[in-house]
Symmetry: C2
Subunit: 476 residues, 2 copies
């Protein structure tokens, strides 16, 4: 608590790391590339799990668990897949004191082991669709790591579904992207743009990949979830065929989709400020802190009695922090809970008791308001609801203000050399033009948005015909 968060304006990257470390969300571990998710950070992950899991189940999915270790030969069965993932794997070569006959890869993703099982489970159209999700850890070796955003080991969910037709698989791919969008906006209060990835950015082994893209406070993009239509690629690699209603054999169609602990990084970067973390109420396991304030012993009794009753009342609905520690001053407590992002603070002093009022301070606006003691439960509930909505609005306004329609390549370069942002420009669809932008500006095509801007135009790089604008941005 003696440390201070580096201001965003001074060093954005340090600001982010300061918040993660000082709010005790995560810590560096002695294992290269791996982080420790501390209780304050894991509490956020639990809320992500709980809410997404409910949304998955409401759309007909069930959970299962597949092995961590994948035989080397399985990884090799889908050509693009092994090429994409094999170089970033951690490999087990010794087990139970013996050199293994076949190396085992720690899963970087589980398509191969899951489709090996689906071969056993899928025989007929009656076995389809198969809608399975897994909550698990994965490893993708990273040299340059960043807490939550890029670590060798991370936690995620990976959905793996099997369908009788291409159309059904495509519907599933889009349905899940929509679940991710709803979750990002309604829970994380982060507005996202759904769209299709360019071929160079798609998942290794997919026909095509959809993503949702969010803007962080430094105007960089963060990919917040992906959903892949895998076509029949994995079914062919693992020979998974089903008998249709007419008795004919056909390869199964597949999707896969995932979000990870990276979302915690997005959440931190989307809303926080120079005082520390700002948590949307729905992402706060403890949304309210009560700080009783008193100097003398005669004040103490009255204040604590009053505060205790309010605590009891609020406890019926919220997980409340009741900070009556006497060894710390109010200012110290305020700073601590602001750093940790508790959405609403209630201050209760002797004058408040006398006036039958309470001071409410909202973490995002830091505005103070005297509220009536009576009806406090509903008043706090309303404030939290309002805060949840306003955080999303604020993030949406920020993104919209930093999204620019650009038709001039020099202008695109200027923006990327300067403040950055989302640049909506026409693109002809060629990998060459995509690569040139990346080399010149470090910006990539985030996605080709589903909505809006369907218009004839000229590629910002080569001038050839284009039917749609895409998002160019630097990205995490």
């Amino acid at each position: 608590m003696a440390e201070k968060v580096t201001p965003r304006s001074e060093d954005y990257s340090r600001w982010y790391t300061d918040i993660v470390l000082q709010a005790k969300l995560a810590d560096y571990s002695p294992v290269k590339g791996a982080m420790v998710i501390r209780p304050n950070g894991y509490a956020i992950w639990e809320l992500i799990q709980k809410n997404l899991d409910r949304m998955f189940k409401d759309t007909g999915h069930v959970n299962a668990y597949f092995p961590l270790l994948i035989p080397e030969s399985f990884m090799a069965k889908e050509a693009e897949h092994v090429e994409g993932f094999s170089p970033e794997c951690a490999v087990v070569t010794i087990g139970g004191g013996q050199k293994l006959e076949e190396n085992l890869y720690i899963r970087p993703t589980s398509e191969t082991i899951i489709w090996a099982m689906y071969k056993k489970w899928i025989m007929s159209y009656r076995d389809l669709p198969l809608l399975i999700n897994q909550w698990a850890n994965v490893i993708r070796w990273e040299m340059r790591t960043r807490l939550f955003l890029r670590t060798s080991e991370f936690l995620w969910q990976e959905g793996h579904t099997a369908h009788a037709t291409y159309e059904e698989a495509e519907e599933e791919t889009r349905k899940i992207l929509n679940v991710y969008k709803t979750f990002a906006e309604e829970y994380l209060a982060i507005p996202v743009i759904p769209g299709k990835k360019s071929d160079s950015e798609k998942f290794a082994g997919a026909l095509h990949t959809y993503s949702i893209e969010a803007m962080m406070q430094d105007r960089k993009a963060l990919q917040a979830g992906t959903s892949h239509n895998l076509g029949q690629n994995f079914a062919k690699a693992f020979d998974v065929q089903f008998q249709d209603k007419d008795g004919k054999l056909n390869f199964v169609y597949a999707t896969s989709w995932g979000v990870s602990t990276r979302l915690i990084g997005a959440l931190i970067m989307a809303h926080s400020d120079d005082r520390g973390l700002v948590l949307p109420p729905k992402m706060a396991q403890r949304p309210v802190v009560i700080v009783p304030i008193f100097r003398a012993d005669d004040e103490k009794k009255a204040v604590l009695e009053f505060a205790d009753k309010i605590h009891q009342e609020l406890k019926s609905r919220f997980n409340v922090i009741y900070d009556s520690r006497e060894q710390y001053k109010p200012g110290f407590k305020f700073a601590e809970w602001e750093l940790q992002g508790i959405p609403v603070r209630l201050e209760i002093g002797p004058k408040d008791v006398a006036n039958n009022k309470v001071v409410l301070v909202r973490r995002d606006t830091m505005q103070k308001e005297f509220i009536e003691r009576n009806g406090i439960l509903d008043r706090v509930t309303k404030e939290l609801d309002t805060m949840q909505k306003e955080l999303l609005e604020k993030a949406r306004n920020f993104r919209d203000q930093n999204t620019l329609i650009v038709d001039d390549y020099k202008k695109l370069r200027e923006i990327m050399d300067g403040d950055g942002g989302f640049v909506m420009s026409h693109w002809c669809g060629s990998p060459e033009c995509e690569t040139k932008v990346k080399e010149d500006t470090k910006a990539t095509i985030r996605n080709i948005p589903f909505a809006g801007d369907k218009e004839q135009g000229k590629c910002i790089v080569c001038g050839r015909d284009s039917v749609q604008r895409v998002i160019f941005a630097k990205a995490y």
Copy 2:
């Protein structure tokens, strides 16, 4: 569904495996020693997680996540620990395409990596107690595996707490064992005996280990949870000292404790029968199945109308399976849901509609009862409550009937050569006598029960003085 479960009496071991495979709880994977937990099995794990997690939080614990991979040098810091676990580890020697400078062990348990972090986090008595739990996968290499009961990879929770005094650590160790006991009895409906492990069976690195021991239907013991008082062993190995209130430095006291997916194996073996799985209602994500029965089209409308309404009513409280599939006969459906262990089945035919009644069949007793249509929600709730209680009673009676007080070594051997069971006998405390019993009978000391039988006696092996009976049994 064409397969049939092997009767217990014919082959207990095949009976167990048949249920696991046919009820789709788990499957063998192509990775040696690893299993796949299928959705029906994972649903049980989700209920274990949900309920235990709430109990941990109610006792002040929080969750966190530590790295999967542990540097070889960390494993070596606690002498007993490395000797116990190192031979069963899976070892990563390649990462990102490069041979690693230091090998990384996949965690067999996380004491070492966690205490390396605690060194960073614990400075003063103000940082204590630290009460952290982790839900994670671990690997302990196994040659002879058995679905759920013994697999190289398994899922578990591992609690790791830090305390200022030995007494506090001891209190925590016992408190958690009690949480495990409550959970086993109230949720799994499995009665357990809490007690202390003998030195030869304690955790590698612990001062002492407590366990809860359950009896399976073949009269063998299954260790259903362990809680370890680690003393200052890990604090010393990782140099974790704290400043007490008087400013003096002292090593921190530790505990660790865990239960795993093995509990699913215990649950299956404790209650199931020759028809398949029997699930205690609290462990069934879907506790009720409704099977409408009709032959002709004119029956169909009336039956489905009646059944639909009942479905709507029950859905308000339970996750109900409404099995109106017309391509399967009722007998086929009954067998399927019996195999999967759904606690209560409601059959609704034309006569029931006419009589305003429903047939209720309880999975454990297989008794049929006509119940009134009106008030069905409370009636089903009551039946599920009763079933939950009676399963525990039944298991307790079975255990008590197969627990024998024995003072004669020949008799002990006879029992272990025959039907087996829990044999309560005096033991002098020497490892030699313990080993002799193991060599002669394959039975081990399960634990030294906390409760009962504190009495003077003579060791059943050597005749020396003993102050307490212990449990001898063959074990999983």
